[in-house]
Symmetry: C2
Subunit: 292 residues, 2 copies
């Protein structure tokens, strides 16, 4: 497996495709923005004229688009599934609701191609440094076929199950915890400010105690800045916690903490902060308690 088609060369997809090139794969990528394909070319890959063109002759087709609708559009309307050789594997890496990933998998396998549901965690930093966590679900043989390519993009690659949709489920669990931890850090640090405790002191203590979370340590310092660098936007969590709640709805499972955290991100997005760093969800608390 050496020739890879790659659809979706955004802030995540471009460095992931470049890491495949660096690992020796022959990568032909497509994106709606010509500049993204130029950047792939500069990294040693090749730009494609269309989604179908990226898929022609590929052994595997990676999809790193924004959502399940875009993935389906690239496969069906964009013609990449029809253009893909019958022996090839479609690898869905975008964050999608589990039911949508499973449905897309059914369409792909009905066409005779194989399908791996393999969403990622780790953000732009992980994409650039090839240290993504990848949660792949597929029959073992299909997973094995693409495992070397996955290993070129991530340092923690897991085969989480045999059934497409299970990768998306683990990704949803991941986003549930990330989103709740982020909102909880904001709730605590906003309270620290309200009660007259220096939030930087609180952050140092909490980050080294049983109260610690990855999100608290990573986003906490940026919560104390007025206009921090955007490493991941508020609207990403509006989307991803929405997927979590959709997964819960489909499974008929109440997820009260995730639902509440979603409201705090929606509040931030609703006042126009959707493109700000997700640490700024703290302002939802500052405003809730009128201390902004």
């Amino acid at each position: 497996m050496t020739r890879i088609g790659f659809i979706g060369l955004g802030s995540m997809g471009l460095p992931m495709a470049a890491n495949l090139v660096a690992a020796g794969f022959d990568v032909r990528g497509f994106d709606m923005r010509p500049a993204a394909m130029d950047a792939l070319g500069a990294a040693g890959g090749e730009g494609a004229g269309s989604a179908a063109d990226a898929a022609a002759d590929a052994d595997a087709l990676m999809l790193m688009v924004v959502n399940a609708a875009q993935a389906r559009a690239a496969l069906i309307q964009g013609g990449s599934l029809a253009a893909l050789p019958k022996a090839a594997v479609v690898v869905l890496m975008a964050t999608c609701p589990p039911a949508a990933a499973a449905a897309l998998g059914a369409e792909v396998t009905a066409s005779g191609r194989r399908f791996v549901d393999a969403p990622v965690s780790g953000g732009v930093v992980g994409a650039r440094s090839a240290s993504l966590t990848i949660m792949a679900a597929a029959p073992k043989a299909d997973y094995d076929a693409v495992a070397p390519a996955l290993a070129a993009m991530g340092s923690k690659v897991f085969h989480v199950g045999e059934t497409p949709g299970q990768g998306a489920t683990v990704k949803a669990l991941n986003q549930l915890l990330c989103g709740v931890h982020l909102a909880a850090a904001a709730e605590a640090l906003s309270l620290a400010k309200a009660m007259g405790v220096a939030p930087a002191v609180a952050l140092e203590i909490l980050g080294g105690s049983a109260a610690a979370s990855w999100m608290l340590r990573d986003r906490g310092p940026r919560m104390l800045e007025d206009a921090p660098e955007v490493t991941s936007a508020v609207d990403i969590f509006v989307k991803d916690l929405g997927i979590v709640l959709e997964a819960g709805r489909d499974a008929r499972a109440a997820l009260p903490l995730a639902a509440l955290a979603h409201q705090m991100f929606l509040s931030a997005s609703g006042r126009g902060a959707g493109d700000r760093d997700d640490s700024q969800v703290i302002q939802s608390y500052d405003l809730l308690n009128r201390r902004n």
Copy 2:
């Protein structure tokens, strides 16, 4: 400062007092249970006949009782404040609402003694290994006076502010995050079970990703057991999240995630699981979604 009175020799207080003895302090302790004083004696300390007896001639009086009401009872009704030398320092180490810690501090300083608000985090494990996190608030000179004794009980000792109540505030922030993280881990792992993903696999992935929290790694494995060892009980979080919400109420600050997490622990306690390991809050989710 060499002579220390210690009131409250429970699962936390006894090993803390023993660590003071091990560090060379002369410790006289009091507890309602004679067996606890025998254990202190075996560790090289001395049992007192009453709270007042523990305070007489002491340079510092540590209070590691269950709550603010017990601390006040030991100081006032128990006569230990009146028995304490005027130059001594009262150190409140129990988890109390910030306003209650501040009020107790005002009573102590009105009597002419000094007061340090110094709650701890780290549980029985931290108490035994002298690795507690201690969050002390007091005028700097008073903090400095007891710092060597605090260092005998904790490995991370912080002077968080000059005003009694600020230590209790940081402890409340700590418990807010611990309680929410614990409930969030339960929400995620219960969903994993509901959606057919092996929770042990999910736990391995989530514990090494941006979804990680100290609580997920520590309590997650016990959430997958039916009757795990009790390291900290459900009712401790019923109490501590109650203190968090009382702090929020006094500060007129809405704390929606903490309030919701509290409900999940109350649900567990209400069905008779209050003395079970706090990881069993997962059953509140299993039952909420009828999968128990």
